[in-house]
Subunit: 288 residues, 2 copies
Amino acid sequence: MSESLKSPFVANLENQWDKGNFVCVGLDPDLTTIPRSARKRFIFPTRRTIFNFNKEIIDATADLACAYKPNSAFYEGYGEQGMQALRKTVAYIKDKYPDVPVILDAKRGDVGNTNNGYVRSAFDDLGADAVTVNPYLGKEAMQPFLDRKDKGIIVLAKNSNEGSGEFQDLQVGEGEMPLYQVVARNVAESWNENGNCAVVVGATYPRELAQVREIVGDMPILIPGIGAQGGDLGAAVKMGKDSRGQGMLLSASRGIIYASDRPDFAIAARVKMARLVGEINNYRSVKV
Amino acid sequence: MSESLKSPFVANLENQWDKGNFVCVGLDPDLTTIPRSARKRFIFPTRRTIFNFNKEIIDATADLACAYKPNSAFYEGYGEQGMQALRKTVAYIKDKYPDVPVILDAKRGDVGNTNNGYVRSAFDDLGADAVTVNPYLGKEAMQPFLDRKDKGIIVLAKNSNEGSGEFQDLQVGEGEMPLYQVVARNVAESWNENGNCAVVVGATYPRELAQVREIVGDMPILIPGIGAQGGDLGAAVKMGKDSRGQGMLLSASRGIIYASDRPDFAIAARVKMARLVGEINNYRSVKV
């Protein structure tokens, strides 16, 4: 991949990393947890509460975030109003903070021509800058995503959940390499022709993160699991950073957006973010 | 799994199979292909065209179908109006033809608590009877789906697309079994505690279909790829049927719903269905 083949998504991320921003904020609204003071009542309460909450969090954290990552499941779970809140949230970020990429965390993947619908939905209808995809159907199926040179395609390799090893850790082929490493290798060697790919590795698996970093070189790695899921931040930075000390999107959701359940929740989110940014940049400077 | 642990989804399928119905109709609307005579203009044309088209196809085929399978990507690709058409389509089938299960083909999968959103969306908001899921994150992640005893969980094993072997055919572990067989085995031996699981194997891979049938016993297998994708119907039935000569959902989409581009499209779909039903039941009676 030549330098000229770098998607705007990756270029935007690099600008954020140069500013010391490595936290990707997971916008995962849960109506049972959103603080009372952020709630709207009566007319379209679900849509308005979710959007209002997201907006306050975004305004309080945009200068410290390397990206925002709404997870589609949370919005789909609230039906039409949830999807309208998602649409408004993406539009708000693109309008007010165009330098901060939006990743639609949707873990999509179908056979080739069917993926055109998901591509249109994520990129052209919602307007996201990147989408997460599931590699199980193979590159040939995912070509409609990979063809989008203007966007980012973030491929699951090793997920953060406890049971992700059921298939991802199976040793495959003659090289006796676990499946998640084969996925990372194929993405780096074959899927990334347009310089628009990244991979996902959970912070809960620092050893696996180090192995994927070795395989993918300086490709961006989305690293969930540093907050509520208990991944160790220092280990994630140490194992996840690329040759320039960058290349990471450290994703935090509940730990940031629900930092307080009181009217100060947005300020509390900002303080948590600032602290996290400080810790990450400290860990980055530690020589391995 | 005891007989008492059989989800209503599987029980409904068995009733359909007893009637000789094995065709699962893929409701995959494409506005560039929907016949001119089905189109609506002016007010919400996308939503109304898609729903009207689906409704005519459904009314013409409901007594011959074992299930309907709208693929979410096609609807998501048309934004809010597409999703409204999907919602109306599922509601229409559930209201008018409650004995014909609706499978939301969405290939979903995320970490555990996040899947609650997808579960709520597919089952409680849209009202589908079953959903397709991607196994890559493992059983522990998919538990919110598997816990739904009242629904069907259809797990991708071997997909119909040409490049599905990139990961699915890799030999894994000590037994030197391809990944898709390990998925099928784990679903049969561990994921199916509530008798609500099925697997997906493409008709384009008859040998693999036979191997999965051996692994999963009488579990239902969703078999896409018999139409436009070129899978051989006779081989699919021969390799896909269970010990009772049943257990198959042979999925056809374009070949049925776009059987004609003229005002007779619904009748044409019915004729194509009837012929397919006849062929399948002929093949079923052929002794292997």
